[in-house]
């Protein structure tokens, strides 16, 4: 991976206005983790790269949706989150408690959107790179133990995803306390931790309409049925094994 140049805050702002595709950050920068850059003391978020082409997940998810989802929606969350962070920093410096609390909604929404989508891109993989291959070893056994079978888990997640009113996410979560797998839903862009501090996201499926409307129109169940063909169980297994080690 090429070394990423450090951007000044100004050029980051310009860069996001011109919608860069690969300029924002290199996913392989190990020092600062994915999607972060350090400038003048405030660590701002940056749009992570997709490890696959926009069209690589077809026909499960169309290239047009992937492009809009990544370049417009996720980028907007990143930009607005950074703005809110700047305002928060100023409010903290001034000691303005009202402003600090008032900004919490924007931070939860935009920051949550950034966190959730960063996980989502890692949850997806093109079919020819292993997308859709069922989980093996410890995660596979855990799924059989906690849900009966992989089909039962998929059915449960699809049912909860379809029943979710409005916008939100459906998650396969690991409860670190009870060492159990659970299916959870969160509303809007609330991250999984809002449902429980011990919950670790293994898989998240975006059921906001922008994630499927152009292709599946209002038939969310079809989207949920097809997305399993490009789910990256290897990533979920890695996270599971790391958390249960």
């Amino acid at each position: 991976m090429a070394l990423r140049t450090l951007f000044t805050k100004k050029s980051l702002a310009l860069a996001s206005a011109f919608r860069p595709i690969a300029v924002a950050s290199a996913a392989g920068d190990q020092r600062l983790g994915s999607g972060l850059s350090q400038t003048r003391g405030l660590t701002v978020a940056a749009l992570p790269d997709l490890p696959y082409d926009y069209g690589a997940l077809e026909p499960a998810i169309s290239g047009e949706i992937m492009r809009l989802h990544h370049q417009k929606h996720h980028q907007a969350y990143v930009t607005n989150y950074n703005n809110a962070l700047e305002q928060l920093e100023a409010a903290i410096a001034k000691g303005d408690a009202t402003a600090v609390v008032r900004l919490q909604n924007a931070i939860k929404f935009n920051g949550g959107g950034h966190v959730n989508h960063s996980i989502f891109w890692k949850n997806l993989k093109p079919v020819n790179e292993g997308g859709g291959e069922p989980p093996h070893s410890s995660l596979g056994w855990a799924i059989d133990t906690d849900f009966g079978s992989l089909e039962a888990l998929v059915q449960k997640m699809n049912a909860e995803g379809a029943a979710l009113q409005g916008s939100g996410w459906v998650w396969l979560a690991l409860d670190k306390g009870f060492k159990k797998l659970t299916v959870e839903t969160t509303a809007n862009q609330d991250p999984l931790v809002t449902k429980g501090a011990n919950l670790v996201p293994l898989l998240g499926i975006d059921v906001w309409e922008h994630a499927y409307y152009l292709q599946y129109k209002n038939v969310r169940p079809d989207y949920l049925k097809n997305i399993w063909k490009v789910i990256d169980w290897k990533y979920a297994s890695e996270v599971y094994e790391k958390e249960t080690a």
């Binding site: 417009k72 409005g166 809007n188 309409e209 129109k217 209002n218």
Partner: protein
């Protein structure tokens, strides 16, 4: 405004409201038994039909495409209506107008399962009628006066409405309501299916901010959608009609008490 009226079929059951008027004792007990058996009746007791938007599906082009309306009204709105009727087929809720049904099922903040479908059916009816071909531009007469009184100027109101729409996180609606207690117009944002009727307020105009309302036409360009709504779609005719009806319930002016 075209409201979906319930049709109550009850062939072998006496309407509870008429039960008290029966004078013969034997008939009374027999009918009384039948009232409590109404849950065993297999006939549908309440049904809310899907109303059409008051214009052809392509009449709002180019600001809202025919395809969007076909899906939004034909699939989504129709879906809510069908789900509601299916739920009501086995429910003791009947004899209500749409507004009564929404307030009853809202259950003071602990909504019953029928609430979501009922509210969304009503919300979408209200939304279609909040728009018209060749809409937008300025209101006139009493509506304009009230807007200027409560927001300072029409452009203040327009900016606030657009800003409120852009600040909505997630799915929801933006409303211009007449607050019954404060007796003024206000812009409110609600999430998912929440409807200002449940607070006893009177909605005047609504804008659907669920993504399915604009995604096909505008993708992620929400600001263009909202501005087009304000400039080209909003129906001030409907708003005027609704304000006129609202003033039968809310006194907006100081009564002119003649001095003797």
């Amino acid at each position: 405004m075209a409201m979906a009226l319930p049709l109550a079929y009850a062939s072998s059951v006496v309407h509870p409201f008429e039960a008290g008027r029966l004078s013969f004792s034997t008939k009374a007990t027999k009918h009384k038994k039948q009232i409590y058996q109404f849950r065993n009746v297999t006939k549908v007791l309440a049904y809310y039909g899907l109303t059409n938007p008051p214009y052809k599906l392509d009449a709002l082009e180019p600001y809202m495409s025919r395809r969007t309306l076909e899906l939004h009204w034909g699939n989504i709105h129709r879906g809510y209506s069908d789900s509601l009727n299916k739920q009501l087929a086995n429910s003791p809720l009947y004899g209500c107008t749409m507004e009564e049904l929404i307030k009853t099922t809202f259950n003071n903040g602990n909504p019953l399962p029928e609430y979501n479908n009922a509210a969304e059916v009503w919300n979408h009816d209200f939304f279609w009628e909040s728009m018209q071909p060749n809409g937008g531009r300025l209101p006139w007469g009493g509506v304009l006066d009230q807007i200027e009184k409560d927001f300072g100027s029409f452009s203040n109101f327009r900016d606030e409405f657009v800003h409120s729409a852009m600040m909505l996180f997630g799915s929801g609606w933006v409303w211009l309501v007449l607050k019954t207690n404060e007796r003024r117009l206000l812009i409110v944002r609600t999430s998912n299916a929440l409807c200002p009727l449940v607070w006893g307020d009177i909605p005047i105009i609504s804008l659907d901010m669920w993504e399915h309302a604009y995604y096909l036409d505008y993708k992620d360009d929400v600001s263009k959608y909202v501005n087009n709504f304000m400039d080209h779609l909003i129906s001030w005719h409907s708003a005027t009609t609704r304000m006129v009806r609202a003033e039968a319930f809310v006194n907006l002016g100081e009564p002119k008490i003649p001095v003797a």
